[in-house]
């Protein structure tokens, strides 16, 4: 008995058999599980009603049993349900929930019938086989879909509608498969073919549509909503991102009919596939499309946690139709999902080299993938070979220099080596600062008094030293920025009384804010010295760290050198003349390490803006060299008197061939950076060598205690099919589980969404939730059959589309009929064909295509169509980049390619219910508002399209114009009535414009495209109004 589907609660016959899944659970879930459900922490009276074991067990806090199967009178739950006492009755009044009499009756019947429990339909594995029913009418069905639909209709004694007219079907199918209207030529060709054989004509049309570039462009939109794809980062300053290659990959994946299981595998784990291709890696951007913050003061770990959470939520909703977000802070209130399940999934997505934030567009958050075009790829290859060659030349020269070195040693004759003067050398012993080189502090400390000089040794007035306070710093004027190809050395002599506990900046040459610096820095943390040169830390840079802490309490000379070898090992650290053993922290780099930003850009000593400096340290002297110092020179600076090899002094300073080879190496690094710089870079997934632990976070808070007992291993939700035994415990294994042929959710979720794309509503009308609180399917067997068939077909998306579009169900007329409106107002039984308003993209694309303005170019960076107002991006956001409207043909691209700014989406798209793409969304609403009327009538985009259409169809006879415009926009000829209304409007407008040529000229001049027609202006203006009127018709903006 399934009477709940259509909300028709028939009178229950006493003998009716109730179904747990379809009748009982929806009631229990909605009204009882909040307190008596899977979230054990908050269970009322320790009672769970979501499983038999608990429901049938003796009550913990009172006598008796909640449910005694078959015995209503003995079931305490029943008495509580029918109680009239406010303290007794369930659900309690404060829950604001009430059971209706019908609901109570269902529960009574269910208990009476033995209270059988069943697994929630969507959590049971996809059945291996689904039987196709045989309706009485064998003529009507065209394929299995129709057999399911018709069988159900026959049960309800409803007849399907007559077929839609061939042209109506063509328009419907063309929009559903390509997002565009059929062209007059296509209509003509189809009409001719249909006269011969309608079914063949339909098949041919479907094949043509499935093969068009537009197919992928249209299908991509739904997936991009789910994947929360956008062209900006989304928080606060909302800068533009570089993600558009992912959008193009999705289009291409649909067009090449990449099987859905592969599609998902690439999205989830493309990087982990053996010998992953560039496309497979690119696809993993899916997990990096979430928003990112760059707000000053934001805490990295908080936002890293948010990002990973967003990956879990998106995977849950887009792929599994589960509301995982509910389990971030507590066990699920309705579904058998726990916090352990949540963080076990979290564990798959947390192990990439990211810091949780971004700084600005150019500094793409790591890990990233470079996407060079063909020319750039060649340049990169050349630069890489040149670098390899330069490196090997240098090594060869070093080896070859051995003999020369020995000879040179003999010429030294006991004399020492000389130390060239540093570029800048500052001795603070006199307490003076040479303003030629440096000045005190900028930024937040701009008005601060200068740092003080204090005696280096207590009890001795001299020498003096610069006393660091951790906040203020000394800023140098003329030290050029440090980069991968620029050798340098820094010497600092300092005295620290104790080590800092946190990372403290001793010196840096970097830019940016606390949301992310880039450049070089020298920091101390608990005494350990780090030298780092990076663009985005930690994923894109080089860094080393000493194995031993720097001693405190005595004056120490620290020297950091960089040999511009472009390898982390070339970052060397010395203490008092002796090279320190270091470990390599990171050694991965792409592009320049010195990106111009608003803040920083000067070499500074002592601290950094909005960062922690080395409070309490005394600096005795400082030196900067624009070259790599040799061991001997470092020793000399430090007054080190032990034995020192002169070999590198010789090769760096004396021996011309090695010096030249090293210089060539620098140039080769520079050339590589130059080749990398213009290449588009996109954030992708790239697994760390060792997974990071995932902790159950109390209340979902990033700063909840992370103790060993909170660690959870990678796993999929326990209530669903088990993780495959032989699968790796990483995202690739997760993909294998997800695309397992028996996975209960993956195929059901996808075919349901595809169904909704054609019929307006899915077989389940809550595509975002297949859990217990989700809607029940209108045709459960059909859903399962479609899902199983889809898996069997090799997850063939085009085949699924074909099946739907060629079914008799889809081909029905969509006209309403009053009797049906009573029984099935929402057309869930599908006794008529689909009808709904076109999407935002379809409406704009339709007007462009019909008017002949559409620029069909595919792919590439986003374009910026017309936007009203001054600049909606910067209007309320001074930190946003400005909106720069595209010029020329770029104004007329398909809406898929329009720039998607998360905090300020295009208003004419928003008006038609396009989302902001801030978070995953699998369904858009379809509202009907006055703003839509204003957009379609007044937006220059649509006015210009109408005028361009008027030019295209210009004809001496207005009736011909009306016919042509109608055909292009509505996909059919106007009726005589329609013709009459439009013709009289035309005459009236023509008259008006002839009397007021200025108005006509103004109207036709709107938009960036030139008027090319030599049609009289008044006529063109009148036709423009006609085209606008047709463009605004229900018959145009609705698919019927």
């Amino acid at each position: 008995m399934r009477f709940s589907l259509l909300g028709i609660l028939a009178l229950l016959p006493a003998s009716a058999e109730v179904s747990y899944n379809y009748d009982v659970r929806p009631i229990l879930s909605d009204k009882c599980f909040f307190c008596h459900g899977p979230d054990e922490k908050e269970n009322g009276a320790g009672l769970r009603l979501d499983n038999a074991a608990s429901a049938f067990a003796a009550l913990k806090e009172s006598d008796g049993f909640a449910i005694v199967p078959g015995k209503v009178e003995e079931s305490v739950a029943w008495h509580r349900i029918i109680s009239s006492e406010p303290d007794e009755v369930m659900p309690p009044p404060k829950s604001n929930l009430v059971l209706t009499d019908d609901e109570k009756e269902i529960l009574r019947l269910w208990i009476e019938q033995g209270a059988p429990y069943e697994k929630h339909w969507a959590f049971a594995n996809l059945p291996p086989e689904v039987k196709v029913p045989q309706p009485a009418n064998q003529e009507w069905p065209n394929n299995a879909i129709d057999q399911f639909i018709l069988s159900r209709l026959e049960k309800e004694d409803i007849a399907p509608s007559e077929p839609a007219s061939p042209l109506r079907w063509l328009r419907r199918a063309t929009f559903d498969l390509t997002g565009l209207p059929p062209s007059p030529e296509e209509i003509e060709r189809f009409a001719t073919a249909a006269r011969d054989n309608l079914q063949t004509a339909k098949q041919e049309a479907v094949e043509r549509l499935l093969q068009s570039q537009s197919y992928g462009e249209h299908l991509a939109v739904g997936w991009l909503d789910a994947a929360r794809y956008a062209d900006s980062y989304g928080y606060q300053s909302d800068k533009l991102n570089t993600q558009w290659p992912y959008r193009d990959w999705v289009v291409e994946a649909f067009n090449s009919n990449l099987p859905y299981n592969d599609f998902l595998t690439w999205n989830i784990a493309g990087d982990l596939l053996p010998n992953a291709t560039r496309e497979q890696k690119l696809a993993t951007a899916f997990n990096r499309l979430h928003r990112l913050n760059n707000e000053g003061g934001a805490i990295f770990e908080e936002w890293r946690t948010e990002n990973i959470a967003d990956r879990v939520h998106t995977f849950g909703t887009a792929v599994l139709g589960l509301t995982m977000e509910c389990t971030r802070c507590h066990d699920h209130k309705y579904d058998p999902l726990t916090m352990t399940d949540y963080y076990s999934l979290f564990a798959f997505f947390n192990s990439i080299d990211e810091n949780g934030m971004y700084d600005r567009t150019e500094r793409v958050p790591s890990p990233t993938l470079l996407l060079p075009d063909e020319k750039q790829e060649n340049q990169l290859h050349q630069a890489e070979s040149r670098l390899a060659e330069a490196r090997s030349n240098y090594q060869n020269e070093l080896k070859a220099s051995q003999e020369a070195f020995q000879n040179w040693l003999t010429t030294l004759d006991g004399r020492g080596v000389g130390l060239e003067m540093p570029k800048i050398g500052l001795d603070f012993s006199t307490g003076e600062l040479n303003p030629k080189f440096a000045k005190f502090a900028e930024g937040d400390h701009g008005n601060a008094p200068p740092l003080e000089f204090k005696p280096l040794h207590p009890n001795q007035p001299e020498p003096l030293a610069l006393a660091l306070d951790g906040d203020r710093y000394l800023s140098f004027h003329d030290i050029p920025s440090f980069d991968r190809w620029t050798p340098f050395s820094i010497s600092i002599t300092l005295l620290q009384s104790q080590s800092t506990q946190h990372r403290a900046v001793l010196a840096h040459h970097s830019r940016g804010t606390d949301a992310g610096f880039n450049g070089w820095d020298l920091t101390l943390e608990k005494g350990f010295l780090e030298s780092r040169l990076y663009r985005v830390w930690p994923g894109n840079g080089m860094g080393v760290r000493t194995l031993e802490p720097i001693p405190t309490g005595e004056l120490q000379n620290i020297v950091a050198t960089w040999d511009a070898s472009d390898q982390a090992s070339g970052l060397k650290l010395y203490l008092n003349g002796i090279e320190l053993a270091t470990e390599i922290l990171r050694d991965k780099k792409v592009k320049s390490a010195s990106v111009t930003t608003q803040h920083g850009g000067k070499f500074a000593l002592g601290s950094r803006w909005r960062d922690a400096g080395l409070a309490g340290a005394l600096i005795a002297d400082f030196g900067h060299f624009d070259r790599t110092l040799s061991q001997a020179e470092v020793a000399k600076i430090a007054d080190y008197s032990g034995e020192v090899s002169l070999k590198d002094y010789f090769t760096l300073r004396v021996h011309e061939p090695t010096r030249k080879a090293k210089e060539a190496l620098h140039q080769a690094v520079k050339a590589l950076v130059d080749a990398e710089e213009p290449v588009n870079e996109i954030p992708v997934m790239e697994e760390l060598d060792h997974p990071l632990p995932a902790y159950i976070l109390d209340r979902g808070a990033y700063d909840a205690p992370k103790t060993p007992d909170k660690i959870v291993p990678r796993n999929t939700p326990a209530m669903l099919m088990p993780f495959p035994e032989d699968a790796p415990r990483d995202r690739l294994g997760l993909a294998q589980w997800t695309t397992h042929p028996d996975n209960p959710l993956t195929a059901r979720v996808f075919v349901n969404r595809m169904w909704a794309a054609f019929f307006g509503t899915g077989l389940i009308d809550t595509p975002e939730n297949l859990g217990l609180q989700g809607a029940l399917p209108s045709h459960p067997e059909l859903l399962d059959w479609l899902a199983r068939n889809f898996v069997e077909s090799g997850w063939d998306i085009k085949a699924l589309c074909r099946q739907i579009v060629l079914s008799s169900t889809y081909g029905q007329n969509s006209r309403h009929c009053p009797e049906l409106a009573e029984i099935d107002p929402e057309n869930r039984l599908l006794a008529r064909g689909p009808a709904h308003r076109l999407s935002a993209e379809q409406i704009r694309d339709l007007s462009l295509a019909a008017s002949g303005l559409l620029n069909p170019a595919a792919g590439g960076p986003p374009v910026s169509p017309y936007q009203p107002g001054e600049d909606l991006w910067t209007e309320s956001n001074g930190m946003s980049p400005p909106y720069r409207q595209s010029v020329g043909q770029a104004l007329y691209r398909r809406s898929l390619y329009s720039v998607w700014k998360r905090t300020a989406p295009l208003p004419n798209m928003l008006a038609f219910d396009a989302g902001s793409r801030e978070v995953c969304s699998v369904a858009r609403s379809r509202t009907n508002t006055p703003l839509q009327a204003l957009v379609l009538l007044n937006d220059v985009q649509f006015v210009e399209a109408a005028r361009h259409l008027a030019e295209e169809i210009a004809h001496d006879e207005p009736t011909k114009e009306i016919e042509a415009a109608f055909l292009r926009l509505v996909g059919r000829q106007p009726t005589a009535e329609e013709q009459e209304v439009l013709l009289s409007l035309y005459q009236e407008q023509l008259d008006r414009f002839q009397k007021n040529p200025e108005a006509a000229l103004k109207l036709v001049s709107l938009g960036e495209s030139d008027v090319e027609s030599d049609h009289p202006t008044a006529k063109l203006a009148a036709s423009t109004v006609i085209c606008q009127t047709i463009l605004n018709l229900d018959a145009t903006i609705w698919k019927r």
Binding site: N96, E826, R926, T929, L934
Partner: protein, 493 residues
């Protein structure tokens, strides 16, 4: 066909339509839904309208960026005495700081450079920066014990305006529009006014978005430029009579279509086109301030003659309130004084002081204050210590979620009351006995006002039980106050 009302303003979707088909073709008013137990199968449980509303509408003067309470409302002489000394660690008690000042080696206390006084019979406290506020001292209720969760602007303002730091939830005004509908059939029920050209912390369309509610509930931004609402004006070359004849033809054609398809959505669309046409006059009529007498501009200040200023928006808010707009949301950016506070806040306060006070006076003299609730405040407070170096002439203050000040007026709020106290540093909320407390949304304390408490209180004043204004989405009943929020009874009349 019923005459469509403003509830159709931002549309009606098919499901609503069918489920309410008893109301006839052409849309259904939410007000009638209210009478019919808010039913139509949607998720507003009965009982919602049972509370007697004190306020019919809200004007929310959002001060974006986080105004420094120590320099405006909450005088702390101790900070002047201890100027330059370190914030005692027991006062901070390990509370997190933003990444902007967490790295500072010292957290020097910064005494306000501004003098304070007590005004009105109530003795409300204002600094010299708010001279006009003195005149409304006995009309407003100052809450000094506000606190929030977020420490960065984007999540904090999103939390205030949508009840969640996570994007995608309906905004405050959308909930009101959803729950109560509109009082004027020619204007939207939720209107947003942003001060022009302020710079400062960004605003986002999500702050007035409708989230998972129907998009008809989203806020409509009125602008100071050529088009008060985007796309409102006819294209050049199309006059109003020309548009009329186009609409007549369009309606005829759509009616023909209706006869063929029998889809009530078509009739609804016809109604929306008519509504759009009416808005083309009703909106400019409202935003055109030229019919205001000089005395109005004197009251609101000279700035109110400049379209797009906070003052002009306050005046416009009054006009919208008169016309029955439910929720009027103003935003004024620029309170984010990390550095250079003494100079910055002086200009900032000047921009809003007179007009904020004028709005209260104006509403009062028109008898509108009784049933109009005015709310003034930002997304969080600022620190007692200086961000950046403290000097004799300068200091800055970082974000501070643990305590801050807001004020409310009218619509059922006790006038002339100052509610809530903070410790002598203005760092923590204290209880009635002066003992610092650490409330959070899981641990309610009657002396502290969480953002959800404020939201619950505003809803209560509108006659709505915040626990009952829900919408089911993804299988869960969502509400503005999540599972938290207590009405602050102490500030109610």
């Amino acid at each position: 066909m019923n005459t469509p009302t403003i509830d159709d303003f931002l549309g009606i979707n098919r499901r609503h339509f069918f489920k309410s088909s008893a109301a006839g073709v052409g849309g259904i008013a939410l007000s009638s839904l209210l009478q019919n137990s808010l039913g139509a199968g949607k998720e507003i449980p009965s009982g919602l309208a049972d509370l007697a509303p004190k306020a019919k509408r809200v004007i929310y003067l959002f001060q974006s960026g986080g105004p420094a309470q120590h320099d405006l409302f909450d005088d702390k002489p101790l900070l002047r005495e201890m100027n330059g000394q370190q914030l005692p660690s027991e006062v901070r008690a390990g509370q997190r700081l933003t990444g902007m000042s967490a790295m500072q080696s010292s957290l020097p206390l910064a005494g306000s450079h501004f003098s304070f006084g007590k005004y009105g019979q109530s003795g409300a406290e204002f600094s010299e920066l708010l001279p006009y506020h003195r005149e409304i001292a006995d009309d407003i209720c100052i809450v000094k014990s506000m606190y929030t969760e977020a420490i960065n602007h984007d999540p904090a303002i999103t939390f205030f305006q949508t009840g969640s730091q996570i994007a995608g939830r309906p905004s405050f005004g959308s909930w009101i529009s959803y729950g109560l509908g509109s009082l004027n059939e020619n204007l939207p029920s939720f209107i947003v006014l942003v001060s022009a050209g302020q710079g400062g912390q960004p605003l986002y369309s999500r702050l007035w978005g409708s989230g998972f509610l129907d998009s008809k509930h989203q806020g409509v931004q009125f602008r100071s430029g050529k088009d008060p609402v985007l796309y409102l004006s006819n294209p050049e070359g199309i006059c109003r009579t020309s548009r009329r004849s186009t609409l007549d033809a369009l309606n005829k054609l759509n009616r023909q279509q209706f006869e063929r398809e029998i889809d009530p959505e078509i009739e609804s669309r016809i109604a929306q086109y008519e509504m759009a046409y009416r808005m083309q006059t009703s909106v400019p009529d409202t935003t055109d301030l030229s019919d205001e007498p000089d005395s109005t501009f004197e009251l609101y200040g000279e700035d109110s003659r400049k379209p797009g200023t906070f003052a002009a928006n306050c005046l416009l808010a009054r006009r919208l309130a008169e016309k029955g707009t439910r929720f009027i949301q103003l935003y004024h950016q620029g309170w984010d004084h990390h550095g250079g506070l003494p100079k910055g806040i002086r200009n900032q306060a000047q921009e809003v002081d007179q007009a904020s006070a004028a709005l209260i006076k104006d509403l009062k003299q028109r008898g509108l204050l009784e049933d109009t609730l005015v709310v003034w405040g930002g997304e969080f407070g600022r620190t007692a210590y200086s961000q950046g170096t403290l000097t004799a002439t300068d200091y800055g203050r970082d974000h501070h979620p643990r305590c801050f000040t807001m004020w409310l007026a009218g619509g059922g709020v006790k006038p002339g009351l100052t509610f809530g106290k903070t410790d002598p540093y203005g760092y923590n909320i204290v209880d009635a006995g002066g003992v610092p407390i650490s409330p959070d949304k899981h641990h309610y304390h009657p002396d502290a006002v969480h953002v959800h408490d404020l939201q619950a209180t505003i809803l209560h004043l509108l006659g709505v039980d915040h626990t009952q204004l829900t919408h089911k989405y993804q299988g869960r009943r969502f509400r503005l106050t999540d599972v938290h929020g207590k009405v602050v009874k102490q500030i109610l009349t």
